[in-house]
């Protein structure tokens, strides 16, 4: 009896009092082929691979299908039994492998049931995946051009701290440059090589001898460090990850203020290791491990009945296998962070006004210079005007005098001169 009571308490603690109201899921695509093999790569012949370079493989589709099933299970109570377009919004970067990963994931998440079955022989249903060209996408691809960001990054790359840290890998980079036939200059370059070798190793392709001394151990640390270099300063983090976190937080706030049933329940973002790495590092969670295929960040809005309060919980699945995610410890807030405190903690990210800060900054500089230019022009104009006015006045007084003379006895005065000229 006592046991039952304990069980009941436990159950009510874990299920009864806490309720997920909204969740944002951000995942990396599944297994893929190398994007761009280095020049001396013995495996750079595309025909050796199952699909073209940078494309999702069948393994990758299956990985995401499995993740979709797991997600469905996790959010079984949050979502309706049948797919409801009002509850779920899916967004992907405009790259084949992420678009396809999202579709495979949704196939696992929402197999058609009941009225959703539209073809008896095909247990799949179409679910929209929205996207935006990468060059226009500051939200998920994080590739839209931003002058303020570029400036800040330039400064960071020239900082002593950055240069000192990177110099530790100078020998490694020289070594790589020699053997890969490609100039290796920074963490990102190292990551490209590491990633390439990682995939070839995964596919049991024999790696060249020169790699043995550095792969995977020596190369891993600086390669994975690259995922923190895009959000290295508070301003970089704000401009890089701010728009996405802002959108997610706004959906959470909508969910809190709008108790109606029709509100959005789940946002799904299909991105890259770059996306995952940026979010983790901007929010202070990055542990230095490269995000694996299908790595997933879950941001959940929780309502706690016992305190009648809303909380944010962030989990990270640092694995391609289907394992339970780790609940992350939000700095200065813990595993279950009250929403208001969460908003304050990440205010640097959430308060971003991307369009304004990235684009208007340019126009404001432009505007200021224009204003200064106009002012200068005006000043010169005024000075000239005054000067001219004075000169003109003198001139006119002379002219008037001549005129008066002209009017009175013009023929007498001018004609001798003309005659003289002729």
């Amino acid at each position: 009896m006592f046991l039952y009571f304990c069980l009941f308490i436990l159950l009510s603690k874990s299920f009864g009092e806490e309720r997920i109201k909204y969740a944002a899921v951000i995942y990396r695509h599944g297994d893929r082929t190398p994007v761009d093999p280095y020049p001396t790569d013995p495996w750079r012949n595309e025909s050796l691979w199952p699909v073209r370079f940078g494309e999702l493989t069948n393994i990758g589709k299956m990985q995401h299908y499995a993740l979709g099933k797991w997600l469905r299970n996790r959010y079984a109570n949050l979502l309706s039994n049948q797919f409801d377009p009002k509850e779920v919004y899916v967004r992907s970067t405009d790259v084949d492998r992420t678009l396809m990963s999202a579709q495979a994931n949704l196939a696992g998440m929402f197999p058609p049931t009941g009225k959703g079955v539209w073809d008896e022989d095909l247990l799949w249903q179409p679910i929209p995946v929205h996207t935006k060209p990468e060059r226009d996408d500051e939200l998920l691809a994080m590739k839209r051009n931003c002058i303020a960001y570029n400036k800040e990054k330039e400064q960071y790359l020239h900082s002593k701290a950055y240069k000192d840290r990177l110099s530790k890998y100078q020998n490694l980079m020289d070594y790589l440059t020699t053997y890969t036939g490609k100039e290796i200059r920074d963490y990102q370059d190292m990551e490209d090589i590491y990633n390439n070798l990682f995939i070839e190793n995964l596919y049991n392709f024999t790696l060249p001898n020169w790699t043995h001394s550095i792969f995977p151990d020596k190369l891993r640390e600086p390669s994975c460090y690259s995922f923190s270099t895009s959000t290295a300063t508070p301003l970089m983090a704000r401009l890089m990850v701010g728009p996405l976190l802002k959108q997610i937080v706004n959906k959470m706030l909508d969910s809190i203020s709008n108790e109606t049933k029709s509100a959005l329940k789940l946002s799904i973002y299909s991105g890259h290791d770059f996306t995952i790495g940026n979010i983790l590092s901007a929010m202070g969670f990055y542990d230095g491990n490269c995000p694996p295929y299908t790595a997933t960040i879950l941001m959940e809005l929780i309502y706690d009945n016992s305190t009648a309060g809303h909380y944010v919980r962030i989990l990270y699945r640092n694995s391609t296998e289907i394992v339970e995610p780790n609940t992350l410890l939000i700095p200065y807030c813990g595993k279950k962070c009250p929403i208001n405190r969460f908003l304050k903690l990440y205010d640097n990210l959430i308060s971003v006004n991307w369009e304004y800060e990235c684009e208007k900054k340019f126009t404001s500089i432009f505007g200021i210079s224009l204003l200064i230019g106009l002012g200068l022009f005006f000043a010169i104009y005024v000075v000239h005007k005054i000067h001219f006015a004075r000169v003109y006045k003198i001139h006119r007084s002379k002219f008037d005098y001549v005129n008066i003379n002209n009017k009175t006895n013009s023929s007498k005065l001018i004609s001798p001169e003309i005659e003289g000229n002729l």
Binding site: V51, R52, E55, L56, N58, K61, M62, Y65, D84, P85, K86, D94, V95, D96, L99, M100, S101, A102, Q103, A104, A107, K115, G116, V117, W118, D119, D121, L122, L123, W124, Q125, P126, I127, P128, V129, H130, T131, K132, P133, D136
Partner: protein
């Protein structure tokens, strides 16, 4: 006709002779019957082949590139009207969403094109062969997915899940406010003011006054524009398709009397050359590049381009290609542009086809008014170039 005669002559004697049973002559007769039947079978096979070979599969050694623009499948109504008896009807998946029937339509269409182009479109999906763009509207994205599910069922090698004969295929799209290609919804100032002017002018046409009055009275709301009629027509059509019984008053006007203003409303978006330049120019520019790349062998791999859009987009392309007639593209209606190469003559030709819905077996070939038959690639490019703005943003005065 000959086929019919054969059948008659065969039937009459056989029925007569069947009455005279239990005879020794029967074996001989049965052989003649067998011969006739066999002959007929062969004949019908030949005849069937002659008829169908034109369509399935499309045998063409000259085909180089195919561009298809289709409308999404059947959807639930997008909006309602004041006196709508079904105002509170619970539409599955909400307003403006693709229905199961709509999914099947596009699936059917995908199958039709798979069979039709069996000798042209490779059986296996290969990302370098095909590029798919869709409007960002869910029903268009979903239509594209189902179309592709039928066009490219996974081969054995591609089967990634033992029980699901489907594979994910990337569909690219642009958000509404950026899309000048498929949905053509990117804002354009000049287009907007010109369209508004034209709309006002058409709405003032006295021939619609009676209809406007009638509709305003019965819908309990102002119906003084062909655009209003357009929305109402689509709503009524979707309700009718869903098996709902439309109110009595609609019988006088729906669909016949409403059809012309409805079609006019679709056409107004791309009514004249200027509107076409601003609406269709960007997609024509893309089509031009695709054709050029194939002709110049710059991108010989990519041989299929798919666009998943709306009825207005089908109408806009149709009008830009020189047709003045009003059009009502049904769900899954598709326009197909084919590029052919006459190797001996060292020249390229463009052909245009249209299917008004997904049931059409053989697409209708159209002769483009600005072009001879066959339409040379050069003449075609010349025509579309006249509709491509050099600087769209500038011409829009955005």
């Amino acid at each position: 006709m000959e086929y019919d005669n054969d059948e008659n002559t065969w039937r009459r004697p056989s029925s007569l002779k069947l009455e005279q049973t239990a005879c020794h002559t029967t074996p001989r007769r049965s052989t003649t019957i067998a011969v006739v039947v066999l002959g007929l079978a062969v004949l019908s096979c030949l005849l069937g082949y002659c008829v169908l070979s034109e369509s399935l599969p499309y045998e063409s050694k000259t085909l180089r590139l195919v561009i298809i623009l289709f409308r999404h499948g059947a959807r639930t109504p997008v909006n309602s009207y004041k006196s709508d008896p079904f105002k509170n009807y619970q539409w599955p998946d909400g307003l403006g969403s693709l229905t199961n029937a709509g999914k099947l339509q596009l699936y059917e269409l995908g199958k039709k094109y798979r069979n039709y182009y069996a000798n042209f479109i490779p059986e296996e999906y290969y990302e370098k062969d095909v590029y798919i763009k869709s409007s960002d509207k869910s029903r268009c994205l979903m239509s594209a997915y189902t179309f592709l599910a039928a066009l490219y069922p996974p081969s054995e090698r591609q089967l990634w899940h033992p029980e699901i004969p489907w594979q994910p295929i990337p569909v690219h799209s642009l958000p509404k406010h950026l899309d000048d290609i498929v949905a053509q919804t990117k804002p354009c100032k000049v287009w907007k003011s010109m369209y508004q002017e034209l709309l006002d002018e058409k709405n003032a046409d006295p021939k619609f006054a009676e209809l406007f009055d009638y509709l305003s009275k019965h819908t309990n709301q102002s119906m003084r524009s062909v655009l209003d009629v357009d929305f109402l027509y689509s709503t009524l059509l979707a309700q009718q398709d869903a098996g709902l019984k439309l109110p009595e008053w609609t019988k006088n006007v729906f669909p016949n009397k409403m059809r012309t203003p409805f079609m006019l409303s679709l056409a107004l978006l791309s009514y004249n050359k200027t509107l076409q330049r601003l609406k269709v120019g960007p997609i024509l520019a893309e089509i031009k590049i695709n054709l050029q790349e194939t002709v110049n062998r710059a991108n010989s791999d990519r041989s299929l381009f798919l666009y998943s859009g709306h009825d207005v987009n089908v109408v806009a392309l149709w009008r830009a290609l020189g047709y003045e007639e009003l059009l009502e593209p049904e769900y899954g209606a598709s326009l197909v542009l084919e590029l052919h190469e006459e190797v001996e003559q060292d020249s390229f030709f463009v052909k245009l086809f249209y299917r008004n819905n997904t049931k059409v077996e053989i697409p209708m070939e159209l002769n483009m008014p600005f072009c001879d038959d066959p339409c040379t690639y050069k003449r075609f490019i010349q025509h579309i170039e006249s509709l491509i703005p050099a600087d769209w943003e500038a011409e829009c005065q955005n």
